[in-house]
């Protein structure tokens, strides 16, 4: 039987639970990313990312995270991965490549970890 760990959101290691606090903080970043569902906005972002970020009012930290493709920083500043990944799509990245970069490992290492059964609980 599945046993209940009785965790709270803040006790889960290596995890930034996307709650109201983060959704509020990340609102401009995620709104910008959502726009990338539109082909015209994908072009606009690629041709002038600074202007595009300005249009959505990203915070300085969010802009720097987008500029440097610092995926962990995007998450820490309220980015949601489903939205942030739309930036990765334009870079031609797979989700796995984004996750590797986010955890500071090489794409090859991350792929190997997944093939070996993934990151084990408490591992």
């Amino acid at each position: 039987m599945v046993e209940k760990p009785n965790m709270s959101f803040d006790q889960i290691p290596g995890t930034y639970v996307f709650d109201g606090r983060r959704s509020r903080m990340g609102y401009p970043l995620n709104k910008m990313s959502a726009a990338l569902n539109n082909p015209a906005d994908r072009e606009a972002f690629q041709s002038d990312p600074e202007a595009f970020m300005e249009r959505y009012g990203l915070s300085d930290e969010q802009r720097e995270a987008v500029r440097t493709r610092d995926w962990l920083s995007m998450i820490k500043h309220g980015g949601n991965i489903y939205f942030a990944y739309k930036i990765g799509v334009m870079d031609g990245l797979t989700v796995q490549q984004v996750l590797a970069a986010m955890t500071g490992t090489s794409a090859e290492e991350f792929k190997q970890m997944m093939s070996n059964g993934g990151r084990q609980p408490n591992g």
């Binding site: 039987m1 599945v2 209940k4 760990p5 009785n6 965790m7 709270s8 959101f9 006790q11 889960i12 290691p13 290596g14 995890t15 930034y16 639970v17 996307f18 709650d19 109201g20 959704s23 990340g26 609102y27 995620n30 709104k31 990313s33 959502a34 990338l36 569902n37 539109n38 082909p39 994908r42 962990l72 998450i75 949601n80 991965i81 489903y82 939205f83 990944y85 739309k86 799509v89 334009m90 797979t94 989700v95 796995q96 996750l99 986010m102 955890t103 991350f110 970890m113 997944m114 093939s115 059964g117 993934g118 990151r119 084990q120 609980p121």
Partner: protein, 279 residues
């Protein structure tokens, strides 16, 4: 009267499509991967007229401007959404607006505060299971009713609330006066995490227990909290609560059918389980 002919829990990670194709063509000989195709074959044999597909949107049709806890489709048809790659070349999904409204008229008065969508684009959370279970036909052989669940922005509905909504949907379906064969498909999972230092999290012990208890002890799964789901299944694997809506719609006693479990499909543990109401 309508009859619920099948209940299926199934992952919806996009990479599942190619992985299942590889198994079907014999390129991949993993028998657990073959289970996905076998469930599709079995589902076809139950001859469903309509499938209720419980899924979540991944930033395609909903942004954080507006997040419904539960959004049900009541459209005549649904288009596959552009998720950032262009619109996928899939046929539109024909709706069953009449049955959608029957469900809405049944469960809202029971206190489920649905958002009703007469226009809705569906993303890979919906399309991947459709493709895996029905292949890529020129026209879909079933009508669909999408039910989009917020599993992304806390507070997401609890596992208990999902299960209760499923119970209400089951009552609604069984009270539908038309002779309609309905399959209910809960999508998502299994364990995975796509963010933070714990990205790549997989929990096979939990997944295997979940695959068993979704059939035999949904009450226990319904009693787990949101943080427990995230801790056990991962921040994105917590979407498994959607399987409980499917399970609630079925009867109390079900017969387990095929199931399969594979690690990894892309960055996800992938699972499938089929069941039907016990004779």
């Amino acid at each position: 009267m309508a009859e619920i002919v099948a209940g299926i829990g199934i992952s919806h990670v996009p990479a599942l499509g190619p992985a299942v194709d590889a198994a079907a063509s014999g390129q991949d000989t993993n028998p657990d991967m073959k289970a996905f195709t076998d469930v599709g074959t079995w589902l076809a044999q139950t001859k469903p007229d309509v499938v209720v597909v419980i899924y979540n949107d991944h930033g395609a049709s909903f942004s954080f401007d507006l997040v419904p806890t539960f959004a049900i489709g009541a459209a005549e048809s649904y288009l596959p959404a552009d998720e950032g790659f262009g619109r996928p070349p899939l046929p539109a999904y024909p709706g069953d607006a009449e049955l959608s409204w029957h469900i809405i008229d049944s469960v809202v008065p029971e206190g489920f505060d649905l958002t009703v969508c007469q226009s809705l684009d569906v993303d890979h959370g919906f399309s991947t299971p459709m493709k895996v279970l029905f292949g890529t036909p020129e026209a879909w052989p079933v009508k669909v009713i999408p039910l989009a669940v917020n599993v992304v922005q806390q507070p997401t509905p609890s596992a208990r609330r999902c299960y209760e909504l499923g119970l209400a949907i089951g009552r609604a379906l069984r009270s539908y006066p038309k002779d309609t064969r309905v399959a209910v498909i809960g999508t998502g999972g299994m364990s995975h995490q796509l963010q933070g230092e714990r990205a790549g999290h997989i929990n096979p012990d939990f997944d295997q227990q979940f695959l068993s208890e979704i059939v035999n002890d949904p009450e226990n799964l319904a009693s787990l909290s949101n943080p427990d789901y995230i801790h056990l299944a991962g921040s994105e694997g917590a979407e498994l609560v959607m399987w409980l809506i499917m399970r609630g719609a079925l009867g109390q006693n079900v017969e387990a059918g095929l199931s399969g479990y594979v690690i990894p499909v892309a960055n996800t543990a992938a699972g499938v389980v089929a069941m039907q109401n016990a004779g």
